[in-house]
Symmetry: C2
Subunit: 583 residues, 2 copies
């Protein structure tokens, strides 16, 4: 009886998130504070990203309610805060802008469908445990993608800061339109937007430092500096209201917003729409996955928690499905949201639940003041965030460390700028895969000799070494597979031409982690060929997993030479009748 | 003056093939014999492959004249014989059958255009030195492709052996049609074809052995056994003529053939045709490249000649361009042609020139007898060759050596059968690339300990080893790159959970051939994380090329531990204050 009850309890527990079971009383206060802090700070951000996605600003608030609640229950991270983020917002805009005019109900329905679809795809990836696919992108490629997207984001917001009407499908269209309409720009809007941007950039750069200089403690200084976007938005709205900037000087503002959630209803998308949106939704899902997994993993490492990429995808997938059905725009793990959440002391997803509740309150009772919030100030918020996304440091670091990676970064960034987000990311994946293939196809091979008086064997070009006459030691620094056999064979034959008296060739396999079927057969051919030329082929330092396979191969049975455990054993065995030549 | 003359001579020499400059008198007789032998033996083969390609049989002879001459002058191999081959012929048929009825002049023009296009593509690959791209396919995938194609070839020839009319785009259509029309089959044709096939298979299997048993020397036995297809064709033709099988019993024969080359004229293909044929031509070029390079390389190794894949592609490209302009069907390096050429003693491309000349003679003066050659016998020739292409041994070998390669082989073969040649090869390339990625993404990582009393360090699970308390030695058997960081980090954290008292972790990098930017940054993050947990991160046995990059990285500057030249140095340094625990 007791066992059955216990089983039932365990079963029930499976459906209750682990953090609730483990919840500790002392977490309550920090969670409450963090939740409220996040709500206040993300309001301008959420409004701005909705604008970026081409949606009415309040959609950003909706997307910070139900998806956040769902993620709190099913997500994997205890402190990640989901909501509208810059990259998925600009992707939404770039996908939907050609299909419907931004801001219309049709556009809203498409955004919801896109969110739903990408959520289903992410969920499927999580359920099928395909989280590892998010590793198809290297960090330089991701960095290039984000930097390129940031430039796109900035370009897309210039119209709000200039106060002009611009429609254009590509970046170039938008830029051309902007230069054409620049003279019609509204000077009051420009001043409002530029001032806001200047304040945002300055506070971002110096406020925390200045507060610390004034004696404020580090966490407080950081938290206060993060409040500056809220302050800018509030001050700008108050100024617009006081000076009547919207009516007197046509400074564009958010306009009347219906309170509550009633204005939102889900329309089941048609088959045609679904077909049109499937590939963009897949790309959105991929980017969301990469961004989310990267961040959730970083947060988990910081808190010493186990990280399960597939569970994280299930959470993100459900959050987006809910965002599609009731929220209206794709969501992801937000870098700044999560940073605020952690900085404010969040201990569990309860902080997110608190934040979602508070946001629901804002939506019902606190939307009135936003009517006169100038769009140029929201755009300034986006531009300030986007400027922070342009990552020159990663490029410099990649350039000094590995040119190929740096070029992949640049290529992806320019791919995004020239061909759009989708082709940019496709280019990035292409670059990543090509780099692996090209590298694995051009293996490093060293001729090895013994450092006199030791048992150390090194590259004869880097060190003064002794060798055995007629014996060639070659170390192959790469797994052998069909893609790199030609250069390996070429090098082998080249070394034999340089040393035509060679009668023993030792392949040092310490860095060969795998030998595929093609390579095994090629080695077998080489062995046969060498035998007919009177050269014995030896192997040394074959790794366990490689040897396990090779013992069953024709190569093993017909190998003309021996298999040595170490290079030293080979050297001693082959030098028995000979004296080593001096270096 | 003298220098200028010499310069001019050198310049002239650049346009004269090397083998002509180096030609030796004693090569003349073997070259003549080999050339004539090849001509006689490839006549039935050439006719059959033209039939397989859906072209009038004599096109196979044309394709054995001018392309062969061109290859002799610009090709890289001294003994490879080009001409119509089974794989490119079935590919030609599968590409063109949906576009025009086989055997019509339109079909002929398309075949010529396909050959021209694939020649241009191959030539471009050679000139751009992209020969290495032919390594995109692993041997198991090539083997699967050839086996699958062989089955397609056999299915395509059944109609000739049954003597029925069958049209169908896919293998399944053809098979369904065959079962439907089987009752209408011509018994005389079936007998003729089956008898020919039986004789061909028996002579192929046993004739050489039997001749040797009768005391004939090995080379002669082999050469005589290779004549059996010629004998079968001649005998069948004589029988048809004597018994009047074609008129009395409607056994299908080749029919009247116009002597000479006059019947052939090149039509410049239209843009629409070119567009339709570009992708098939590219695939044809890829397959041709792989087959040709593989064979030419094998022949070069046998003759101890340097092999230049790109020069080989230039030769193959020109041969196909000529085949397109004057010859009518794609050509490649033929396995059996080349084998006969080598066996008959060919020393230089002069053998191919002799063979082309002799074939020209046949086309002008020796086509009459072919009028009553039964198609079923040509089909039997093709089926016999195709049966030899089905490669069960490779599958068995791959299965025992590496299941993933064996599955790629099977997948490609079934891809060819179910979806056709083009999708089959695309699947094969996909399998090949996926295998590399999946393997590199799942690295082998071993916890290492010292074998007591030695300086050898081995996997603690495979050997009895001693370890240091609080010190973990991990050997990573794979280059580190963006695709395998997640499993590496997971394993690292897993090992640390198992040994929570660890204060020093040594990564042994002897098998790490590269660390890309993503991996360097991840190691840097791990280093930072470990530092905060009070664990020092050390590196040991970092390879020269890896270290060259890492010294410029942030990881190197902030590494909490040391970089050791050897695992032993690390072990000794870290054990200074401690005693090793007993195994």
């Amino acid at each position: 009886m007791r066992d059955r009850t216990k089983g039932a309890t365990n079963k029930a527990k499976k459906f209750v998130p682990e953090w609730i079971v483990r919840y500790r009383g002392e977490w309550l206060i920090p969670d409450l504070i963090a939740g409220l802090a996040v709500t206040i700070i993300v309001i301008p951000q959420s409004l701005a990203y909705a604008l970026l996605a081409g949606l009415p600003p309040q959609f950003g608030l909706y997307a910070s309610i139900f998806p956040v609640l769902v993620y709190a229950v099913v997500g994997s991270s205890t402190t990640q805060a989901v909501g509208p983020v810059a990259i998925t917002s600009i992707m939404t805009y770039s996908v939907l802008a050609p299909l419907a005019p931004a801001g219309t109900p049709d556009y809203g329905n498409l955004a919801a469908a896109l969110s739903l679809l990408s959520g289903i795809i992410v969920l499927a990836f999580g359920v099928l445990r395909l989280g590892f696919l998010s590793h198809l992108l290297s960090r330089p490629v991701i960095s290039g993608f984000i930097s390129g997207s940031a430039v796109l984001i900035i370009v897309s917001q210039l119209k709000f800061i200039l106060g002009v009407r611009v429609e254009g499908a590509t970046t170039w269209d938008v830029l051309r339109e902007l230069t054409r309409t620049a003279l019609e720009a509204n000077p009051h809007t420009i001043v409002t937007g530029s001032l806001a941007l200047a304040v945002l950039l300055c506070t971002k750069a110096w406020m925390a430092k200045w507060l610390r200089f004034c004696g404020v403690s580090y966490p407080w200084a950081l938290s206060l500096s993060r409040l500056s976007p809220v302050a800018v938005v509030v001050i700008a709205t108050v100024l617009v209201a006081k000076l009547d900037l919207d009516h007197r000087f046509h400074v564009a503002v958010v306009g009347s917003i219906q309170s509550g959630l009633a204005s939102f209803s889900f329309t089941v998308p048609g088959i045609g729409t679904l077909r049109q949106l499937t590939i963009p939704a897949g790309i959105l899902a991929l980017i969301g996955m990469v961004q989310n997994i990267t961040m959730a993993q970083a947060l988990a490492i910081k808190r010493r928690e186990r990280f399960d990429a597939n569970k994280e995808l299930v959470g993100l997938g459900f959050a987006n499905i809910v965002a599609g059905v009731y929220g209206g725009m794709p969501v992801g793990g937000g870098l700044s949201r999560s940073a605020i959440n952690v900085a404010a002391g969040a201990q569990s997803p309860l902080a997110s639940i608190v934040s979602a509740g508070a946001m629901l309150g804002v939506v019902f009772f606190g939307l009135g003041w936003m009517e006169r919030l100038p769009l140029a100030v929201l755009a300034a918020n986006i531009v300030a965030a986007a400027l922070g996304m342009i990552d020159i440091k990663s490029f410099r670091q990649a350039w000094s460390y590995d040119r190929a990676d740096a070029l992949a970064l640049l290529g992806t960034a320019f791919g995004v700028l020239l061909f759009g987000l989708q082709w940019g990311i496709a280019l990035g994946v292409g670059f990543s895969l090509t780099t692996i293939l090209v590298r694995a196809s051009t293996p490093h091979i060293a001729v090895i000799g013994r450092i006199p008086g030791t048992e150390h064997f090194r590259n004869i070009e880097r060190h003064g070494t002794e060798t055995l006459p007629g014996v060639l030691f070659l170390r192959i620094d790469e797994s052998l597979f069909f893609g790199n056999l030609a250069p390996v064979e070429e090098r082998l034959n080249g070394e034999l031409e340089k040393a035509p008296n060679t009668h023993d060739l030792v392949l040092i396999m310490s860095a060969v982690n795998r030998v595929d079927t093609t390579a095994m057969e090629a080695l077998n051919d080489i062995n046969t060929d060498f035998r007919s030329r009177g050269i014995r082929l030896h192997l040394a330092e074959v790794k366990g997993p490689v040897q396990d396979r090779l013992v069953n191969s024709p190569l093993w049975k017909s190998l003309s030479g021996a298999v040595f455990l170490s290079v030293n054993a080979a050297f001693q065995s082959l030098s028995q009748d000979k004296k080593p030549s001096q270096p």
